[in-house]
């Protein structure tokens, strides 16, 4: 679905290299957990995979026609928009028909934020804002989902719902890449784990069961459930 080869990134001449040569590939149906310490380059790698940023060296390739859903680590609320209007704009931005807007309500209900659809984005709590940015990424069933710390700020119930939604999308053939720096908490199913250390990718620590396989839907990195 998406691949990168020899990707290096720095944010200006003379600045340090944030990524120092990363080769990676994510296939349809895969769920990849990107781990690593603060400042390792996870967010930069996710931005490049999503297409939000371009590598300084190397190449990133996305399968033709694959839509991208992206959630950044930090989001400030857009001003002057209610949550519902924000999502309607994203329906149009994706070139979807008005019918695709019908996706909004079930997703908002699933994440328990439907009551805030008419609220201005600037008045939402961090968790609610997170839910709406997640919903915009899921609209139109993009084939690649790149989520930077998607569980941050969500309550436990919403984390489980989100994990289920992402696993469902992967079963439907989407590729999911997400980062989550917390340890010991419940993790969603991942078919692969990348460890980013100081801008390079370390070999996977473990390989989890295939999503949709006979194994449990959720696996737990770093501790028991």
């Amino acid at each position: 679905m998406v691949s990168c080869a020899g990707v290096r990134k720095r944010y200006g001449l003379g600045r340090p290299w944030v990524l120092k040569g990363i080769d990676a590939e994510v296939a349809a149906g895969q769920i990849v957990h990107v781990g690593g310490s603060n400042g390792a380059g996870k967010s930069t790698l996710l931005r490049i995979l999503s297409g939000a940023s371009v590598p300084t060296d190397g190449a990133r390739e996305l399968a033709p026609g694959a839509g991208v859903g992206y959630v950044p680590e930090n989001t400030n609320p857009p001003r002057g928009l209610t949550a519902g209007r924000y999502l309607r704009h994203h329906v149009r931005l994706r070139g979807l028909s008005n019918g695709a807007g019908e996706e909004v309500e079930p997703l908002a209900v699933a994440l328990r934020c439907e009551h805030f659809l008419s609220e201005p984005m600037t008045t939402l709590s961090k968790g609610s804002l997170r839910k709406f940015t997640l919903i915009q990424a899921l609209l139109g069933a993009p084939r690649l989902l790149v989520l930077d710390e998607p569980f941050t700020g969500l309550d436990v119930d919403a984390q489980e719902v989100l994990a289920g939604l992402l696993a469902e999308r992967a079963r439907d053939g989407a590729a999911v890449v997400f980062s989550d720096h917390r340890e010991g908490g419940r993790r969603m199913a991942a078919t692969e784990r990348w460890e980013i250390v100081a801008g390079v990718r370390r070999e996977e620590e473990a390989r989890a069961p295939e999503v949709g396989g006979s194994d449990a839907e959720f696996v737990f990195w770093g501790g028991p459930a």
Binding site: R47, V54, E73, N74, G80, L93
Partner: protein, 217 residues
Amino acid sequence: MSAVARYMLVEHLGSRRWVAPFLFLASGVIVLYAQPPNPVLSTAGTAAAWMFPAQAWWAFAFLNTQEPGERQTLVATVGARRFAAGRLLGLLALLAIAMVFTAAFPILTGRFERPAHLDEIVLILCANWLCGAAGSGLAALVCEPIVRTRAVPVLFLTGAVVLSIPLDVSPAIETAAAMNRTDASAVPGQLAPETLGIALFLALALPLGARLWRLRE
């Protein structure tokens, strides 16, 4: 592309970042036309010159409306080309608002010494467009993420507007000088080199700004 521009404009207007630069533009135009007799072309030329700094400010405010996370989300969602095209369309929409306001104000409020003829109105719009486009081009070189601070762009834009005058490359001064005629038929010839120069500047500045943006994002 229009959906991208529409989203950006809605957010820009909702953010109220447009208020200060628009008031800067409007107050300058109102003060300029406060003192009669206001010959049509020469006064409109001076008003067009005011659009150079005003539109540099407004374009800068527009291009910086989105915070990094939201900007990156938009780029990932619609692709870099559509994002850039949407931004350009949004800039053109703001430029159209500013040039129409600057041209319409003296006509609708009867500030000119006589009613403006159609050919003069066309020339006024052209002069406004030239100065506004030059200002927008400057802003495109210093918006986020190309420059991540606010102080440097403010110094750059102010410096460019001021220093272009002694360096004899100010689109504001050149346009005002070209419009300082009583005969409208003489103005297009005077504006031609200015038009060429600004077109060349935009042809360099806009791709350069887009390239720098992609490298720094």
